[in-house]
Each structure stands twice: as C-alpha cells, then as structure tokens.
C-alpha cells in the first residue's frame, strides 16, 4: 500500500465501499487499493464477504454505496453493456467450479470470450493457441471437458480468462476443488502469469499456503478489511 501510487499504477481502488443484501450488511466502508502488477490474496472465513468483494471489484456486482475504480475507470458509471465490454476486455475471471461449457471442445470454450470482442477468425485461432500453450493445454484443444481432470479444467479456465489479454485476473477459490498437486501447479501458473505478463492477479482463497505466496494478503472479517 505504501509503495502503490493512488493515481498511477493502481489497478483497483475502492472508496468507502459498502454492500448489503437487504438489511444484512456484508461489507461496510471498505477502502482498498490494489497496485498494478500485484499478486494479491484475499482470505477470510466462509461467509466473510470474499466473493462479494471480488464481484464488486470485477464489475459483476455494484456496491450499495461507495466507489469502485478499476484502472482509473469509475465502473459504477458504466451502463450494463459498457460494463460487459469492460469485463470482456480488461478483466479475466476464474471460478472454483471452472464453469466450462460441457458440450464444447476446449478450443471452442477458449473462443467464447472472443465472441463479444468480434475478433477475426485468424486472430482468434492465434490467441487460442497462445493461451493454450501458456497453460500447457495445446494438445487438448479437441477435448471435451468431461474427458479432462480438475487440474486441466482449471488450466483451461485460466486460459479462457487470459484470452483477451486482461489487465487483471480475479480468481475466486481457484483451487478449492483441486488436490494438492494440482493446487500447486495452478497457483504456480497464476504466479507465472503475474510475473511474466505483468497481469495483476487477485485470488480469493482460504488456503493459507497459497496466501503466503502472494505479494500481499487482504484479510476480511465482519465486513471489513482487518489485516493488510
């Protein structure tokens, strides 16, 4: 936080962000900045609001009050479609349950984020190959998800998050469904991406081992950031 400039080199900035569902508040008055190129872990007990925070930062959800800036853009000002375009181009999302299309091959799954971007065919193919190589799945492009292991699926999911060359990746418990060996390789992959591409990575996890590998750990408790 100390070395991260507020205007320059800041990936995400939260100003007094609160989120409530009905009367129950989940987050209250969260102020937070994540520097560009950081590898950040968000930890906290189940139900502490980790996912909620991630969704707010990722432009999936809107805060009840406060302001969310992502790469200098006040995303609260975006309309739905603008926000969708913003997510498509700037943000990569990785989920615990991978959320791949079971009836499409790996290749087609990877192409999905390219669809709203209206990329030409050749460029699409180039990118698919690129991200597949990056996650080591270039041999599995013709596979269907049902034929693959959890670790492989999460690699594909990460590749899908990378395909539009996002500036930031939000991963919500990306290893929650993986065994130790796969957990390690997925975390290694995310770190590699962070290091080599300079992509900011924000990982929600309750696995302290992973958190320890991060540049920075944000702890959530009772709707607020308690330890940074």
């Amino acid at each position: 936080m100390l070395d991260g400039g507020l205007l320059d080199g800041t990936a995400v900035c939260l100003w007094g962000v609160s989120k409530a569902y009905g009367k129950s508040g989940v987050l209250s008055d969260v102020n937070l900045a994540i520097g560009e190129g950081d590898f950040v872990a968000i930890v906290g007990a189940s139900g502490s609001g980790k996912s909620t925070l991630l969704h707010l930062m990722g432009g999936i959800d809107r805060p009840t009050s406060g302001r969310v800036e992502v790469f200098g853009e006040d995303i609260g000002r975006f309309g739905d479609n603008e926000l969708a375009g913003f997510r498509n181009k700037i943000i990569g999302l990785v989920f615990q349950f991978f959320y791949l299309q079971p009836h499409l091959t790996v290749e087609k799954n990877l192409e999905i984020p390219c669809m709203p971007a209206l990329l030409p065919k050749v460029e699409r193919a180039r990118r698919v190959r690129g991200v597949a190589e990056m996650v080591g799945m270039e041999d599995k492009l013709g596979f269907f998800p049902a034929m693959m292991s959890g670790g492989e699926l999460q690699r594909v999911a990460i590749a899908r998050a990378l395909i539009n060359r996002p500036k930031i990746i939000f991963a919500d418990e990306p290893t929650g469904n993986l065994d130790d060996a796969n957990t390690e390789s997925v975390v290694r992959l995310l770190m590699e991406i962070n290091r080599e591409q300079g992509t900011t990575v924000v990982v929600v996890t309750h696995d302290e081992r992973i958190a320890k590998l991060a540049d920075r750990i944000i702890r959530l408790r009772d709707g607020g950031v308690v330890c940074d």
Partner: protein
Amino acid sequence: MEEWFVIKITDMVTLASTKLRTHRIWTIVFVVVEVLLVTTILTSVAVMRGVEKSLADFGSEGVNGRYMVEAINWRHGSGLENDRKVWDRAEELYEKYTAEHAAMARELGVDYFKDSEEVPTEYIDGERFFNSWTKYGRMALDEARNEAVPASGLPELEKLAEGYDVKQIFEISVKPASGSVRYLENGKEDLAKLARPNSSEQESLFGGVTVLADELMEYYLFPEYQYDDRNIPILMSYESMEKYLELEALPGDAGDEEKLERSRYLEDAARGRVISTCYRNNASRQGVFNAVAIMDEISRNKDNEGYVEPELVYDLPEMPCGAVGVAKDGRSEEQKKQAGLMEEYQKRIGEYEAPEQRIVKFEVIGLVHEVDRGVDLSSQNLWDILRSMTGAAIPSPAIPLSYYAENQEMIDGIFHTDYEDFLGFNEYYAVEFYDAGVAREFLAKESCVVDQNEGCATEEKPFLLAAWGNNSIAIDQIVSIGLRIIMCAIAVLVVFTMVSMGKTVARAIADDRREMAIFRAIGFERSSIMAIYLVYAILIGLIVVILAVVLTVIVGAGANVFFSERVTVFLQASFLTIDPTIRATVFLADGWIFVGILGLVLGVAVISSLVPIWVNMRRDLVKELKTE
C-alpha cells in the same frame, strides 16, 4: 442505442446448438410430435391438392367438372290427391264425359257400357278412394294443379336466375315410349313374351328417351365415332347394355379392376352396335295380345266338342314386327258394320288409335353409367360416399338434341305422352354456372322447398333445384370443408408450437441460469445471450421443418407409388373416363403452400420463444454466480 446482437451469427449457432444436447428427451419428444403434426398437415394439403387435381383431370372429360343445377317445376304434392274437391271434380268430369259418350254411342247406334270407363273414385269397404291414374282423375288433378300454381318453363327460370352469373341453360326433355320398344332377338320378335300380360318393363329396351343437348352428351360418345342418320343415335347405359348382351351383372363387392374391365368390355361391344327394335303402339300391342289370347283359347279347347270358335281369328305376323293379320273372318255383315261403327265412335271420342308397328334401329353412340344421383352420406363406407360423389349422372337412354330437331316427327311418333308428368320431369332444365359458389348460392336461395303435401313449386320459387349431372358442387364443398379442417389443424399446430416452443425455450433458460451468468461475467451483453436462445428456437424450428419435409416427401412418394394405381382405377370406374391415359395424382406438393406452412412453423417458433426470453432478460447475474 448500442448494437443489439454484438456476436456473430456463426457463434450464436455454435452456442445455441450446445443447448440441443441438453434437455434431450424433452426436445426429442417435442420435435417428434411437431414433425408428425407438420407432416400430417403438409401431407393433407398435398393429398387435397392431389384430389383436386385428379378430380379436375378426370372431370375434364365429362360434365364432371361443370357446375350445374337442375330445375324441376314440381308442382304437385300428395295433398292434391287427397283433396275431396279434386275427387268431386273428377267425378263431375266422369259423369259429363260418360254422358257425352253415351249420347254419341246412341247416335251411332253402338252399345255403350259405362263400366268400360275407369271410375275416378270408388268405395271399397265403405271407404272412398281416389284413382289418380285414371283419365278423369288425371284431368281433375291437372286442372287443380294449374289452378294452384301455374306451370313454369324457361322464361320463368331465366327470370329466377337473373342476377346470377349463368353460363347457359339446357332444356332436357324426357319422352316416354307411347307403346313398346323391344329389341329383336336374332331378328325375331318374341310375340308370346310381348303378349304375356305381366311382361316386365325391363324387357322393353327403351321405356323412354331423354333428349339432351349434344354438348352435354359429347363427352360420353365413343371417341371419333361417326353415326349415320339411318339409325337413331342413342346414348345407352352400361347397365342396359349389359342386360342387352345378357351378361350377368357384377356382384356388388366386385373390385374396381373388375368393374373397369367390364366397362371396357361393354364399350367394345357397344361401339357401333345397331340395335334393331320393334316399335308397337298400344293398339298394335293390344292386337298381338288379342291374337295370342284367341289362339291360346282355341288350342286349349282343341278336344272340346261343344266349343265354338270365335268368328274372328287373327294371324300372328310372319315378318318380325309385322301387322296382325286375319286368319278367319266368319262375321256377319251386321257384325262387321257394328265393328265399323265402334271404330267410328272411338274416333269421335278421341280414343281411336290405328295399330302401328315398325322396326326402329338404334345405333349406340356412347355409354354412361346409371349412377344414383346425390351424395349418399348414409353409407358407412367412405369409399362408397366418394364413389356416389364422383360419378356423373347423365340420363340414359338419351338422343342428341340435334338429331331430334331434324327427326322430330319420327321420334315423337315413338316417344310421346299425352299427360304432363306429375313431378314435372317431362321437361326440366340444367342451369350451368361459371362458379361453384354462385351455383351453391343459387341452389340454396332459389330452390322451392319440397313438401309432401303441397309439392314444391310456388309462384316466387317455381323450381326444385338440385345439383345435376355430377357432383362438382358437392366436391367443391367437400374440398372447402377439407380446407377448413386443415385450417383447424394449422391452428392446433400454431397453438401447440407456441406452447411447446415457449416451454422448451423457458426450460432451457431456466436450466442455464448459471451458464448465462458466466457468459455475462465474461462480457456478453444480455441481448447477445437472449439472441442465442432465439437462434436455439430457430434451430429447433429448422430441424422440425427439415424432418417434416423429408418425411412428407417420403410419405408422398410412397403414396404416389402405392396408391396412384388404385386411385386411378377407382376414378376411372367412377368417372367412366374414356381416355385411359389419365392418371390420378394422390399427392401433389405445392411449393408455395409448403413454404407458407414451414415459414409459419418457424415464425411461430421464434415468436413463442420471445416470451420466456423477454421474461428472463432482466435477471440478476450475481445471484447465479454465488454458490455454496
């Protein structure tokens, strides 16, 4: 506004097609039912078109395709026959004429027996009965009828048809034989048969003839057949030809092939056949009857010593159709004089007829079937109903009007009647229309209503109207009923498609809530996602359409292969087509109707999918992303 569908069609199809693989059972059931429905409708339409075309093709030969309404001036109901005033008038006429006849007989000096004249009314067991067939009965009826409703003819009909688009009116006259017209077997006349008191009318070949416009008849004439005027050209029925050739009629359950074969056989046998008949007027017939009776009496009494032969014994003619001669005339001068006076008396009261007989030759110029008129809807068998509908019913035997006009005197010498037919069938009319709808309207609006008691004709509506010569009007109606049924089926299809397609899409969306949220999170706009479901609906619609077309084509090809021959034979037998090359069309695919129905299916699919799509447009995506 931003662009609505910001992903490519190909991508939409890729994503939409994945949905076909989910909800498989539901989708398959829906598609199968839908395909069957669409196929049924397409097939029905094609069969309807086939029927229409077949009827048009087969009907083009005869009067089958023409819209004709027959008009009969039926003025007489049973009420008149039960009217005591008519009875009394008949008695009055009877008394008047018998008194005149008695006076005439007295003047001439011949015996007069009042009993020899039929009484118009009589008492049986104390109850009075009216003999409507007697001379004075008929006279009284004619009077009463003319008083009740004046006779109507062509001018009245033309007036009635004013305002309707009439093509032409044909006059049709039925002329009963004024005696007997019986054919000569091997050139010989079977006099014993003729004299048999109850010789059936069937044995008389031509009980009467109908004079028919050449134009109506020409369809049924043997192709390229020229007749010469030495014989009377006659259009006969297959049935009477069959009888003439002494062929046994086919059993009722004979197949169409068999019937057709019989028809062809009869045509071959009838073409150019000259049928020699003997015409005897009633006096001539009576002469033969008397001669045979006396000869019988004599031969019966051969061994009877006390038997005295009559003074006058006749000689049966040796030449076929010859006059009865006199074998023995033992009458006194006085008896001869009396006979002469009797003849004179009969002449004076207008009842004398000189015996007349001659050979009359008919030349068969064509054959028609005797088909019951009207549609027999009481039959349980659809095939029978169809058959009764399709057959043409040209009256037979018939002679062409052109021939009649040239030989009126000769024909009237054989076929004429002194009495008007009770039902007005002696002269009736066929009104032809350009359009079936107009014909139906004319029939429905202008026909008198039959009343057993009153008859039918009134001054405003002098004619009983009925479809004539064919059932084009009925067929036309059946076709329009068929169309209405198909319209109902299409309505069912539309409703079914609406509901099922709406449900299918709604179900897909409901099951895909997570997936939709992911797509949104990845950066798809709502409209893009909804468009995917629209494409999904179109894909299902297209699958239905393609399968339905394929199935319909298979069904259609099958129908044409398996039924075409059968239907052709059936139609040939019903329509009695002379040209055997005309084939039936069972299945006629009409491109535009197909495109229309298929477009409708697609359109309804799209429209019905819009409802669940619209309902789900605004759903919150965050909820779906949060699990556990």
